[in-house]
């Protein structure tokens, strides 16, 4: 039997987390949501079932998206694809994020079906 793919959503907006969780679940993804980079790192360190994709907000209180990308660089979950979801629309930021290993980005406001398609195709 094929395993259900898992998405880890990292975003400080609780409403958006609920929305994305619903959208991913209805599209056949197992979804875990956390509020910031620190919680994401904790989850990744403790879980035995690593996610297949991470949807990562850039601007969050505490450990933000960039810091998360820095901190995951020397761990066993470095190879998990990351899609950055951000209000920032700036070439320099995207360049820096790509250097830190993101695979794709989506800017807010975004179309949820578009994000789901990106996740499916990664």
């Amino acid at each position: 039997m094929e395993e259900t793919p898992q998405v880890l959503v990292v975003d400080d907006d609780p409403d958006l987390r609920e929305l994305l969780e619903f959208d991913f679940r209805t599209n056949g993804f197992d979804t875990v949501t956390v509020a910031n980079g620190a919680e994401a790192l904790n989850y990744l360190r403790e879980t035995t079932d690593l996610p297949d994709v991470i949807v990562l907000d850039l601007l969050m209180p505490g450990v933000d998206g960039m810091t998360f990308l820095h901190k995951r660089s020397d761990t066993r979950f470095e190879s998990i694809p990351v899609i950055m979801l951000t209000v920032v629309d700036d070439v320099e930021t995207f360049r820096a994020a790509y250097e830190l290993g993101i695979d794709d980005y989506v800017t807010k406001p975004f179309s949820p079906p578009h994000l789901v398609t990106r996740v499916e195709n990664i």
Partner: protein, 369 residues
């Protein structure tokens, strides 16, 4: 005896007041906690029901909305606004339909343009209308939403977001933002000003040509900063006349901002000929000279190179000289090092900074271990 009774009476009064206040505080806290719980429950209920109905085509929104309690309707209104800020596309169209059924646009439009609304209510109403992409006629914006810089900025954002429904959105939004030019814009206002003016047209140049003379220094500097970063491709050279006039402004910060604002216009040869670069390079203010070096480095053609080379040698202020050397280095020029005024120290310092491996921690750099 009389004093004792008075003291007892006073003590009893103080105790009663204290007790009353304590009971009221506890009562309010309990009431608030219950209200918070009720609102949270309402939000969870309404969120689940919304998700469940959102993708169905057979839903009658009116029926559903009338079945909701008042706290649930309040929760739904707030939820819709929060979602509409971050999502777009077909899903957001569904949320807009619900907002319409709830008469959110009408209520917000009424609040935005009603005489009795306070500024905060007006600001919130404008934010709601922006999220719902519901325009307000320009005359209503001008007559009701000009009370504070924040409401003017919210009005301009509304114009930007509903641009296709206004006649001249660029000019209208820009005029709302700079208004009488007395108050600085917030980051939100500046962001809107960039969005309204980036690309062909750049109505800001026309608005500034008419009104820049009455703007405060702070607004002039902000406007110059915006022009420094946007692409102003269409306007003719005469649109920049007011900017060239700012080279005579008494404040060095304004003069420096004015030359920086022309950074992206180096390709306009007619305009370049009208800029007295030598006067800027001889300006008393180091701030103005530094700005000019940076702009020349950006222009980077042979004229700019030769001016920079001269400036690097003639500059006497050390920080300015470093700026000039950096400008020359950024152009990968090979200047005449045997000139008697060659700035050896500045040149070596800039080269040393360039070659230092700044990403490597100090203790790991070669020669430091």
């Amino acid at each position: 005896m009389f004093t004792e009774s008075l003291l007892v009476l006073l003590s009893v009064t103080v105790f009663c007041v204290f007790l009353g206040l304590s009971i009221a505080t506890v009562g309010i806290a309990v009431w608030k906690r219950r209200a918070d719980r009720r609102n949270k429950r309402a939000l969870e209920t309404v969120q689940g029901q919304l998700f469940e109905r959102r993708d169905r085509s057979d839903v009658d929104w009116r029926d559903w909305l009338t079945s909701l309690s008042e706290p649930e309707q309040t929760a739904l209104k707030s939820l819709l606004q929060r979602y509409l800020r971050v999502i777009e596309g077909p899903k957001s169209d569904r949320y807009l339909e619900i907002a319409d059924t709830l008469a959110l646009p009408q209520a917000a439009r009424w609040k935005a343009s009603h005489d009795d609304s306070d500024q905060l209510t007006r600001l919130r109403a404008l934010a709601t209308l922006t999220v719902l992409e519901q325009p307000v006629p320009t005359r209503e914006l001008w007559s009701h939403c000009m009370g504070t810089q924040r409401t003017r900025e919210a009005s301009a954002r509304l114009v930007y977001e509903c641009a296709d429904q206004y006649e001249c959105p660029g000019v209208c939004g820009t005029e709302l933002l700079v208004w009488d030019g007395s108050e600085s814009m917030t980051i939100y206002g500046l962001d809107t000003l960039v969005k309204l003016n980036d690309g062909a047209g750049t109505p800001l140049l026309e608005v500034a040509r008419k009104s820049a003379g009455s703007w405060s220094d702070a607004v002039l500097i902000q406007v110059c900063r915006v022009l420094e970063h946007i692409r102003a491709t269409n306007p003719d050279d005469a649109s920049f006349d007011w900017l060239i006039a700012l080279f005579e402004h008494q404040q060095p910060a304004v003069r420096a901002a004015a030359i920086r604002a022309l950074k992206q216009q180096g390709w306009r040869t007619g305009l370049r000929q009208r800029i007295d670069v030598n006067a800027l390079l001889e300006d008393d203010s180091p701030q103005v000279r530094r700005a000019t070096y940076n702009v020349l480095a950006y222009w980077g053609d042979s004229d700019a190179q030769s001016l920079l080379e001269q400036a690097m040698i003639s500059e006497r202020e050390t920080r300015c000289q470093l700026a000039a050397v950096r400008a020359v280095r950024s152009l990968d020029m090979d200047p005449l090092k045997n000139h008697s005024g060659w700035p050896v120290d500045a040149w070596n310092w800039v080269r040393a900074v360039e070659t230092a491996d700044v990403d490597t921690p100090l203790d790991e750099r070669s020669g430091l271990s």
